[in-house]
C-alpha cells in the first residue's frame, strides 16, 4: 500500500468521528495563534513567503521543545485580502482557543480593531496598519512590533541627510507614494521635517495599481530634479519605478524605498540586480540567508526529508516572517513566566508583549534591538538600510532610529485628535 | 366639436382624431426618411397605411408616439395633433397619457412576466386597481385565448397569442387611438383574420380609432374604412378602402391582381412611380 492510500484510508475511517466531535479544541499544553494571510489575493507575493516562514519558525520552536513546556499551534486562514473572510477568521480563531492574532493587511486589521479590544486579544501588525497604533495607551491590543511607516519615513529622511553630506538645507526631496491611505500616511510627518530641516519637498502620487507612472517619473527626473527620492510603493509599482528611473538616467543611489519597495522580487521584476545597482531599501528585519536561525530552519527541514520551498528565495520577506514569529514567541514566554507556568489568556499575552526585550538569540543580527513597553508598541522604530551593490543586498547602515523625537511627537498628536 | 359622424361606412364629415400634418423625419440628423407626410385618423374608424418595406410606415407611427427620439430620429418639419392638441416633440410616456397606444411590429411582449402581469404593466399610467381589473376583464372578453393562458409566461406564447397579448396590453391604458404596426407579420391567414375581426369589433364597441400599418394590403383593406399608400417617405395615394380596392395601381402592385394579364417589368414600375410622383 502506498503512503497516500494509507492516508486516505485513515481519513475515511476517521471521518465519522471528526464530524461527530467537531474540530479538536486547544490542548492543555498548547498555545494557539491565529494567523491571517493572503495566499491567493492581490498581496500573495508577500503572503506566500511570509506565512510559510512564520510556520517554519514556529515548527522550529516546537522542535526545540516549545515555549516553557507549551507547544505552539498556528491556525492560518487565507482571507484573500478581503475583509469579510478576515472577520470570519477572527471568530474561528477565537473558537479554536487562539489567544492572539497575527494580522495581514491594513483594511482587515482596521475592520477588526474593535473586536480585538472587545475580545481582549492582542494582534501584531508589522509593516501594516496605521502608524498611530504604535501608541499602546490608545490601542492597548495592537502591536506593530516593527518600524511603522512614520518611523520608516524618519529613517529614510535621516539616511538622505547622511547621504547628502549631513544637511538637508535647500535640498530637494521627492516623495513618490502609492495614492492610498498607507501611501499618504507619512505626508504630514514629511511636511514637518521639510520645515524643520529646510528642504524642499514635492509629492508624486501614483494611483493603484501603479504599473503606469511615466508621467510622474518624467516630472521627477525632468522638472523637479530632486537630490533624493523616497519611494513608498507596493506590489508591482516599485519595480516599475526602478526601471523607469533607470531609463531616464536617474542615479538609483539617490533613491530609498520603504519596506514594501525593497524585496528580492522587486529587484528581479525591475530587471535584475545589474539594473537596480545602487538602490537603497529600508528594512525592519535583516536581509539574506546568513543567520543562525535560517540555517537551523533549513537543517530541520532537511532532517525531515523535505525540500526547501520557493519561499527561501526571498530572504527579505522570509526574514520578516521569522522575526514576527520570534517576537510572538518572546511575548508568549513572558506571559507564561508571569503566570508561573500557567496557561496565559489574551490579556496575559498582551502584558507579555509589553515586556518583550531581546529575542531568540539565534536571530542575532536579523532582528532589531526591539524593546516593547506599555507605551511603545512599536518597540523603538528601528530600521536598517540595505542597498544593491555588486549584484546583491549589502547592509549600508545598521540599526538606527530616524528622527525618533519627531515621530513620537507625531504619534502623540495624532492620537489626541 | 363638429357634427356627430354619420354611422354609414365612410363619411368625410367624421371627426378627425389624429392629424399628421406634413411632417419630415430625419434620422441621425442626416437620413431624411419622411419627406412631408400628412394623414388623418378619423374617430371610430380604422385607417390603414399601406406601403412596401422601407417606405417609412413604422417611422410615421414612431413619430406619432414619440418613440422616434430614442432611435435618434427627429421631426424637423410639420406637426401632429391629437384632437387638435399638438403632440409632436413630446416624450412617449406623455403621448401615452394623452391617449395614444402603439403596438410595435415584432410583438414585444415582456417575456418574463405572465400574460396577466403584461396586461397590468400595460396599465402603467392607470393608478386605480379597480379600473385595471376591469381593463383586464375587458381584454379577456375580447381575447379568450389570453384568458386561458393568463398565468403563463408571455415568452412562451405562440406568435398569434403574443400578437393578441400586445394588442390587449395596448388597450390597458384606455387609449383613444391605437397604432398597430404590421400585426399580420408572420402569422397564418386564419389567425390574421381572427385578430382583424377582433380589432374591428373593438373599434365599433369600444369607440377606438385605429391606424393600421400593413404590407398585406389585401387584408388591411377588408377591415379598414380609409387608407393611405406610402412610398419612399411620401403619401402617394389616398382614398376610402373601397376606392383603394378598386384602384388599378393598388390592384396591381399591392393586391397582386393583374388586369391586362401581361406582367409589367420592374423597370416599368419604377418609371411609372416616378412620373406619378412628379404629378402629385
Amino acid at each position: 500500500m502506498t503512503r497516500q492510500t494509507t492516508a486516505w484510508l485513515r481519513a475515511g475511517a476517521l471521518a465519522g468521528s471528526i464530524l461527530a466531535s467537531g474540530p479538536a479544541l486547544a490542548q492543555d499544553k498548547e498555545i494557539v495563534i491565529g494567523a491571517q494571510c493572503d495566499r491567493t489575493g492581490p498581496t500573495q507575493i508577500v503572503g506566500n513567503v511570509l506565512c510559510p516562514a512564520y510556520h517554519h519558525y514556529m515548527a522550529l520552536v516546537n522542535k526545540r521543545g516549545g515555549i516553557e513546556g507549551y507547544k505552539i499551534k498556528v491556525l492560518e486562514i487565507d482571507h484573500e485580502y478581503k475583509v469579510p473572510p478576515a472577520i470570519e477568521s477572527h471568530e474561528r480563531f477565537k473558537k479554536e482557543g487562539a489567544i492572539m492574532t497575527s494580522a495581514f493587511g491594513t483594511p482587515q486589521l482596521l475592520a477588526l480593531l474593535k473586536k480585538f479590544e472587545e475580545d481582549k486579544m492582542p494582534v501584531t501588525s508589522p509593516g501594516i496598519g496605521s502608524s498611530a497604533a504604535a501608541d499602546g495607551k490608545k490601542y492597548p491590543y495592537v502591536f506593530p512590533i516593527a518600524a511603522t511607516y512614520w518611523s520608516q519615513t524618519g529613517g529614510a529622511v535621516e539616511f538622505a541627510k547622511r547621504q547628502l553630506g549631513g544637511s538637508l538645507k535647500d535640498k530637494k526631496i521627492a516623495y513618490m507614494f502609492f495614492d492610498n491611505p498607507a501611501g499618504r500616511e507619512p505626508l504630514p510627518l514629511l511636511e514637518e521635517l521639510a520645515k524643520s530641516e529646510g528642504f524642499q519637498m514635492r509629492t508624486f502620487g501614483v494611483p493603484s495599481p501603479g504599473i503606469e507612472m511615466g508621467a510622474q517619473i518624467l516630472d521627477v527626473t525632468g522638472r523637479f530634479k530632486p537630490d533624493f527620492v523616497i519611494a513608498h510603493l507596493f506590489g508591482r509599482a516599485p519595480s516599475v519605478m526602478i526601471k523607469e528611473l533607470k531609463g531616464k538616467g536617474f542615479q538609483l543611489s539617490k533613491v530609498v524605498g520603504l519596506v514594501w519597495a525593497g524585496a528580492e522580487a522587486d529587484i528581479i521584476a525591475a530587471g535584475g540586480y545589474g539594473i537596480s545597482e545602487g538602490y537603497h531599501t529600508i528594512q525592519y528585519a535583516g536581509v539574506g540567508g546568513d543567520f543562525k536561525v535560517i540555517n537551523e530552519i533549513k537543517d530541520m527541514l532537511k532532517a525531515e526529508g523535505k525540500t526547501l520551498g520557493k519561499e527561501f528565495e526571498s530572504t527579505v520577506t522570509f526574514n520578516r516572517g521569522v522575526y514576527q514569529g520570534a517576537v510572538h514567541a518572546a511575548a508568549i514566554a513572558n506571559a507564561i513566566k508571569a503566570k508561573g507556568g500557567g496557561k496565559p489568556n489574551g490579556e496575559d499575552l498582551r502584558k507579555g508583549f509589553e515586556q518583550v526585550k531581546g529575542l531568540d538569540p539565534s536571530l542575532d543580527g536579523l532582528a532589531p534591538p526591539l524593546a516593547l513597553t506599555p507605551e511603545d508598541h512599536e518597540g523603538g522604530g528601528w530600521v536598517q538600510i540595505w542597498s544593491i551593490k555588486g549584484g546583491k543586498f549589502v547592509k549600508t547602515q545598521d540599526w538606527f532610529q530616524g528622527y525618533r523625537k519627531e515621530v513620537l511627537k507625531h504619534v502623540e498628536e495624532e492620537n489626541k485628535k | 366639436m363638429q357634427d356627430a359622424p354619420a354611422q354609414s361606412a365612410v363619411a368625410p364629415s367624421a371627426v378627425t382624431m389624429l392629424a399628421v400634418n406634413n411632417i419630415e423625419v430625419v434620422y441621425d440628423n442626416v437620413v431624411l426618411v419622411l419627406k412631408g407626410v400628412s394623414l388623418d385618423v378619423k374617430a371610430g374608424r380604422i385607417t390603414t397605411l399601406l406601403g412596401a418595406n422601407g417606405a417609412g410606415k413604422s417611422t410615421t407611427l414612431k413619430a406619432i408616439s414619440g418613440i422616434l427620439f430614442t432611435e435618434r430620429g427627429n421631426i424637423t418639419k410639420g406637426s401632429i395633433a391629437l384632437e387638435g392638441t399638438p403632440i409632436h416633440g413630446r416624450r412617449p410616456f406623455e403621448v401615452t397619457k394623452l391617449g395614444i397606444a402603439q403596438v410595435f411590429e415584432g410583438r414585444r411582449v415582456f417575456e418574463s412576466l405572465s400574460c396577466e402581469e403584461n396586461l397590468v404593466a400595460g396599465a402603467h399610467i392607470v393608478r386605480d386597481m379597480g379600473e385595471i381589473r376591469d381593463g383586464i376583464e375587458r381584454v379577456f372578453s375580447y381575447f379568450p385565448r389570453i384568458k386561458e393562458r393568463r398565468n403563463q409566461l408571455a415568452g412562451y406564447l405562440s406568435g398569434g397569442e403574443q400578437q393578441m397579448l400586445v394588442i390587449g396590453r395596448a388597450l390597458m391604458s384606455s387609449p383613444k387611438v391605437v397604432l398597430l404596426d404590421e400585426p399580420s407579420l408572420g402569422l397564418a391567414p386564419m389567425l390574421v383574420e381572427e385578430i382583424f375581426g377582433i380589432v374591428k369589433r373593438l373599434v365599433s364597441e369600444q369607440n377606438l380609432s385605429v391606424l393600421l400599418v400593413e404590407q398585406n394590403a389585401n387584408m388591411a383593406l377588408t377591415v379598414a374604412d380609409h387608407g393611405y399608400v406610402m412610398e419612399n417617405g411620401r403619401i402617394v395615394l389616398e382614398g376610402s378602402a373601397e376606392q383603394l380596392r378598386s384602384n388599378s395601381d393598388i390592384r396591381e402592385f399591392y393586391l397582386g391582381i393583374n388586369e391586362g394579364g401581361a406582367k409589367k417589368s420592374y423597370r416599368d414600375v419604377k418609371h411609372y412611380k416616378r412620373r406619378k410622383r412628379w404629378l402629385s
Binding site: 486516505w8 481519513a11 495566499r39 472577520i87 483594511p107 | 401615452t96 415582456f110
Partner: protein, 355 residues
C-alpha cells in the same frame, strides 16, 4: 414532496396576491423564520453566527444589486462604491453629530441613493458593456473623492471608527447581538424587495429589462424608472455599507473596492438574476461556501499534510473547488441557483404525476 398546489383554490384577489401563495410555502417560511430567529442564535456557537452576520449583510447588498441588474437589466460594476458612500455618511453623522444608528442608517442609504441617481444618469443613453464601464468609472471616481477629501474620509488614513450600535442604552457588541441587528435588516430588505418587484414600479423595471421600447410605449418614463432603479439599488447598497460599518466598528473605503463590486455581481449571477431567492442563495453561496470548503479541506487534509503545508494547500484547494463549483452550477443551470431550486420544486409540485 409536500410542495403541492392541488386542493388549493384562490377565492379572493388578496389570496392571489399573497407573497407566498401556497400554504406549504407559508408554513415552511414560518418554520424557517422560527429557526433563524429563535433556534440558530441560541444553539450555534458565536463563530457560526459571525458567518450568518456576514451573509445577512451581503443579502441586503445583493438584493440591491439584483434590483438594478437582475430586474431592470442595467449592469453596474460600482455597487461597492455606493456601500462606501453609505458607510462614510453614517460614520460622519455618528462621530461628528453623535447620531444613533436608526438615523445614520437610513441617512447612509439616502445619500447613496442620491449619488446613485447621479451615477445612473448615463444609463439613459448607454447600455450593456458601455454602462458597465461607466459604472466602473464611477466606482473609481467615488473612491478617489473619498480618499482625497479629509472632510469625508476623516484624515489621511481614510478610516473613521464608530461606536457599536445601541438600543435603549444596550450596546450591540457580541456576534449574537449583531446577529439580531443584521437579521432584522436582512428580513426587512427581503420583504421590501418581494413587495417592490410585484408593485407597479417593479413591473416597470421588468418591462424595461424585457423590452425597453415597448415599456416606453405603454407609458413608462424609462429615464425616470432607470434612475429610480439606480436610487433604490444604491439605497440598499448604502444600507449594506452602514451595516458593515457598524459590524466592523469602522468605516474604511478599502473594504469597498472593485473586488467587492465583483463579488456582489457574482452573488446575483450565481444566485439568479431577477430573483429575490437568488440574491439570498447567492449571498450564502459566495460568503459561506469558501468557508465550508476550507473547513472540509482542513479536516480531511489534516491526515495527509502537515499543518504548515496544509495552509498553502487549503488556500489553493479552496480557490479551485470554489471556482469549479461556480462553473458547475452555472453549466447545470445558467439562470442560477434560484432557478435550480424552482425546477426542483416544480417537479414536486405535480409529483407524482409529472405530466
Amino acid at each position: 414532496m409536500f410542495y403541492r398546489e392541488a386542493g388549493t383554490f384562490k377565492t379572493t384577489y388578496a389570496e392571489d396576491m399573497a407573497l407566498f401563495p401556497l400554504p406549504i410555502t407559508r408554513w415552511s417560511m414560518r418554520v424557517l423564520l422560527v429557526l433563524v430567529i429563535a433556534v440558530v442564535p441560541v444553539v450555534l456557537h458565536e463563530y457560526y453566527l459571525s458567518i450568518f452576520n456576514l451573509i445577512f449583510i451581503a443579502i441586503v447588498g445583493a438584493l440591491g444589486l439584483n434590483i438594478l441588474v437582475g430586474y431592470t437589466g442595467q449592469i453596474s460594476i460600482g455597487h461597492a462604491a455606493f456601500m462606501s458612500v453609505g458607510a462614510y455618511t453614517a460614520a460622519n453623522l455618528a462621530v461628528k453629530l453623535g447620531l444613533p444608528f436608526w438615523i445614520t442608517l437610513p441617512a447612509g442609504g439616502l445619500m447613496a441613493a442620491f449619488i446613485g441617481v447621479i451615477v445612473g444618469m448615463p444609463s439613459l443613453r448607454i447600455k450593456g458593456t458601455y454602462l458597465a464601464i461607466a459604472t466602473l468609472a464611477s466606482q473609481l471616481i467615488i473612491e478617489w473623492i473619498i480618499n482625497h477629501t479629509p472632510a469625508i474620509s476623516g484624515g489621511a488614513a481614510a478610516a473613521i471608527e464608530v461606536a457599536r450600535p445601541t438600543i435603549a442604552g444596550y450596546e450591540l457588541k457580541s456576534q449574537k447581538d449583531l446577529y439580531y441587528f443584521t437579521l432584522f435588516f436582512a428580513l426587512v430588505a427581503i420583504v421590501a424587495t418581494m413587495n417592490l418587484v410585484r408593485s407597479r414600479i417593479g413591473r416597470a423595471f421588468i418591462a424595461i429589462r424585457d423590452q425597453d421600447i415597448a415599456a416606453e410605449i405603454i407609458g413608462i418614463n424609462i429615464f425616470r424608472y432607470k434612475l429610480i432603479a439606480f436610487a433604490i439599488s444604491s439605497f440598499y447598497a448604502g444600507v449594506c455599507g452602514v451595516l458593515y460599518t457598524y459590524y466592523f466598528g469602522i468605516a474604511t473605503y478599502e473594504a469597498f473596492q472593485i473586488v467587492v463590486s465583483i463579488d456582489y455581481l457574482a452573488m446575483v449571477i450565481i444566485g439568479g438574476l431577477g430573483s429575490v431567492l437568488g440574491s439570498v442563495l447567492g449571498a450564502i453561496f459566495v460568503t459561506a461556501l469558501p468557508v465550508v470548503i476550507r473547513i472540509l479541506v482542513e479536516t480531511f487534509g489534516g491526515y495527509i499534510w502537515d499543518p504548515a503545508a496544509l495552509s498553502a494547500v487549503a488556500a489553493s484547494m479552496r480557490l479551485i473547488i470554489f471556482g469549479g463549483l461556480i462553473i458547475f452550477f452555472l453549466v447545470v443551470e445558467p439562470e442560477g441557483l434560484a432557478r435550480l431550486w424552482r425546477n426542483t420544486r416544480n417537479y414536486f409540485r405535480v409529483w407524482p404525476f409529472s405530466y
